[in-house]
């Protein structure tokens, strides 16, 4: 896949005249829809060749930010530049590729016809267009389905075609807006491979998702968005470090009287997971999470549980994840 993706960087649209090296710069961006502030003062700068993750729950403002970058939303204030050119300028359009969250393809055209149409809209023609279509079909592993009507493709294939259509002109900066929504695990892995191939070819990427594991796997840096703001921005490790330091997380599953469980969780600064259940009589069974400075504190937790008559049936130690960071910063689950 890497070999087939290699031409991307070589054949990528060259900007005339040469512009700035910074793929994307966003300064003080604000966008309101009536009373709702969708983007509330965002500043952002991408590094060439990185995969930049935008994490946030539904309604956080991710898609509005993406649409502002591709010139489909006019900001109330602030500035966006793509390789130094204003958003929606011809240079910015040529340098940007966009795979929107929706399946923005022509359902009654075949995969190849879709690629042809959007290739023409991007200004490609002749041999360049044919070459671009061949590359896209190969990149999305749709060569054997090239003649299939788009609406008859499987969900995963439609998603891949949706991505390929956005990259038909070989852009230097690709924006992927939740490309794995509604696809099965196999198709998701296929999409990950496509993203990794783009990264290997040097394409700068913005990847929005509300799946933590995707951001952890694919992204060099991650911005966490909530209520139209970026509330944290760093590498995965940097985010965890700044939120939790060297601390780790312990997840313990216990059985016991409700009052005893509550007192135990509270005394160690933990929180309930969402699987509490009555087990018969006055006992409950459930999980709680704790943050510990070092693993030796686990012994204290176990001793304390035993002292209050609780039975610890399962216990695990792990480094905090982006999910933990998000929870820590916003006080809510990412998928709320």
């Amino acid at each position: 896949m890497t070999s087939s993706a290699a031409p991307v960087a070589q054949a990528a649209t060259r900007l005339e005249p040469p512009l700035a090296q910074t793929p994307l710069r966003v300064d003080g961006l604000v966008k309101r829809f009536g009373q709702i502030t969708a983007i509330d003062g965002i500043n952002l700068e991408l590094r060439a060749g990185e995969c930049f993750g935008l994490l946030g729950p539904n309604g956080a403002g991710k898609s509005t930010l993406i649409r502002a970058i591709v010139g489909r939303v006019i900001p109330d204030s602030g500035r966006i530049s793509v390789f130094g050119a204003p958003a929606a300028s011809p240079w910015a359009r040529a340098a940007l590729g966009w795979a929107p969250q929706e399946l923005a393809i022509y359902p009654r055209l075949t995969a190849r016809e879709n690629l042809y149409a959007f290739g023409r809209y991007a200004g490609l023609k002749g041999a360049k267009l044919r070459e671009a279509i061949a590359w896209c079909l190969n990149w999305a592993t749709l060569e054997d389905r090239a003649g299939e009507i788009a609406e008859k493709l499987s969900g995963g294939m439609k998603r891949r075609l949706n991505m390929a259509v956005g990259l038909i002109h070989r852009p230097q900066l690709a924006l992927m807006d939740e490309p794995t929504v509604g696809v099965d695990p196999q198709s998701r892995n296929r999409i990950f491979e496509m993203i990794e191939a783009l990264r290997a070819a040097g394409t700068t990427l913005i990847y929005t998702t509300h799946y933590m594991e995707e951001a952890e796997r694919l992204c060099d840096r991650v911005a966490i968005m909530d209520h139209g703001r970026i509330i944290a921005l760093d590498t995965r490790e940097g985010l965890v470090e700044s939120a939790f330091g060297k601390r780790s997380q312990v997840k313990a599953r216990v059985n016991g009287r409700p009052q005893a469980v509550a007192a135990w969780v509270k005394s160690h600064g933990g929180r309930y997971a969402d699987d509490l259940a009555q087990t018969g009589g006055e006992s409950i069974s459930g999980s709680a999470e704790f943050t510990v400075e070092n693993p030796s504190q686990i012994a204290m937790l176990l001793d304390s549980a035993a002292a209050t008559g609780l039975e610890v049936v399962d216990l695990s130690l792990r480094r905090p994840t982006l999910e933990s960071v998000f929870l820590h910063l916003t006080g809510k689950e990412l998928r709320d």
Partner: protein, 430 residues
């Protein structure tokens, strides 16, 4: 359970404005249009424009023209404008040209000598015939004019009038000799036979007669436009039905804009090098080609199946076909750019197109309609397109005569497209 199902359907209908409009507004609107056109609130007979050329200029001819001008159902034109000069009396050629051009469905030429023998009292005393030039695209007007002409001369009483004339002569002059009586009785018998023959003659044959003696005033009738009526009726309906379905096709096709907006494809297209102007231009071009192809299919079918003379009218067809196609394409794009959903587009386009087609002449000829509805029809694409096709296929007029229709259609197309472009700004950026 049945009530629950009905209630669910009712709630769904109440929230579907498009379905509500189709269910309640369209039938009422249609009923109103038909009631206005055919109902009793207007004169049953539409006013007929008649060009009158008085070549005789006698007392009798002046009285006849004055009598016709008194008729409420007729608009009598005796003069016209020529190169800036107004009130120039019509001559034969000008009257013929006016009928050919569709300015008037009927022209009456009162020939020299009419005043000497204005009425016909049997074969022995023939009157001088008035010449009627008519356009067969309007089957009603000649009949109306013929009837009103004869009304003046009391068409149904000519035998009685003659008898009264004889009685008057016998009384005042002192009677006739046996020989004179015999000749007069023969003449009356001949007149009687002729009236019986008139009464027994099929009405269609009477209507199509080129020598209409059905009253005191003799009329020689000749068609100057649309000589082959059946074939021309076919060309009329090819145009009339064609334009109506063009409108449906164009609005349905332009609805792809709404599909693309809903799927996000429109956003994606507009994030590429394609601007909204280019996009709408592309849609206009495609919809024009689609509509024009539809017209070609319609007319070629009319030629193949109904022997309509298509191939000798190709230049006129191209001019009118392309003008009509681009206008309906722009109309469809305007509707699509103003509607929010496909369902809304479906309802509004059905409502508008059926109403436009009804008053614009796609369902029945406009000359059957009251004058006010005929004028309202001028605000429809159908009326101008059908008028243009009629000029080409019925009247055999040159392409240059199509300029009013082409000008109106192209101006309408430009205006509709500009408004559509403005309405489409809502898709350009949030």
């Amino acid at each position: 359970m049945i009530l629950s199902i009905a209630r669910t359907a009712l709630v769904a209908l109440r929230r579907d404005r498009a379905a509500l409009a189709l269910a309640f507004i369209l039938p009422v609107a249609f009923f109103t249009i038909f009631a206005v056109i055919f109902g009793g609130q207007h004169n049953a007979t539409p006013r007929v424009t008649v060009v009158v050329v008085d070549q005789d200029r006698s007392e009798a001819s002046r009285q006849l023209v004055a009598g016709l001008e008194q008729e409420g159902s007729l608009d009598i034109l005796t003069t016209h404008s020529v190169r800036g000069q107004s009130a120039v009396p019509f001559d034969f050629a000008a009257a013929q040209a006016a009928v050919k051009a569709g300015d008037a469905p009927v022209a009456l030429i009162i020939p020299k000598g009419f005043g000497d023998r204005p009425i016909t009292l049997g074969p022995a005393l023939p009157g001088v015939a008035i010449r009627m030039l008519n356009d067969t695209s309007d089957a009603i007007a000649p009949q109306v004019v013929m009837g009103l002409l004869q009304k003046v001369a009391m068409v149904s009483m000519r035998e009685r009038m003659a008898q009264l004339g004889l009685d008057y002569a016998a009384k005042e002059v002192g009677g006739f000799t046996p020989g004179q009586k015999k000749r007069l009785e023969d003449e009356l018998a001949a007149l009687h036979r002729e009236m019986e023959a008139d009464a027994n003659r099929p009405s269609g044959a009477q209507a199509s007669s080129s020598d209409d003696f059905s009253g005191l005033i003799k009329v020689d009738r000749s068609a100057v436009a649309g000589e082959s009526q059946n074939k021309n009726v076919i060309s009329f309906y090819a145009a009339a039905i064609g334009v109506m379905f063009l409108l449906f096709t164009a609005s349905g096709s332009a609805g792809s804009l709404l599909d693309e907006a809903e799927s996000g494809a429109l956003d994606r297209v507009l994030s590429s090098r394609v601007t909204m102007g280019t996009l709408l231009g592309g849609k206009l071009f495609y919809n024009t080609l689609l509509a024009f192809t539809q017209l070609v299919v319609m007319f070629v079918w009319a030629w193949a199946a109904f022997k309509m003379d298509f191939f000798s009218h190709i230049p006129g067809f191209l001019v009118m076909g392309l003008s009509s196609a681009v206008t309906v394409a722009a109309f469809g794009i305007l509707l699509a750019s103003m509607c929010r959903t496909r369902a809304q587009l479906g309802a509004i386009s059905t409502l508008l197109i059926l109403m436009m087609s009804a008053i614009g002449g796609s369902m029945f000829p406009r000359y059957l309609m009251p004058p006010a509805v005929q004028k309202a029809g001028l605000f429809t694409i159908n009326a101008w397109a059908i008028d243009g096709f009629t000029k080409v296929f019925w009247r055999d007029l040159p392409i240059s005569s199509l300029w009013p229709q082409v000008l109106v259609l192209l101006t309408a197309a430009a205006a509709l497209f500009l408004v559509a472009r403005r309405a489409a700004r809502r898709w350009e950026c949030a």
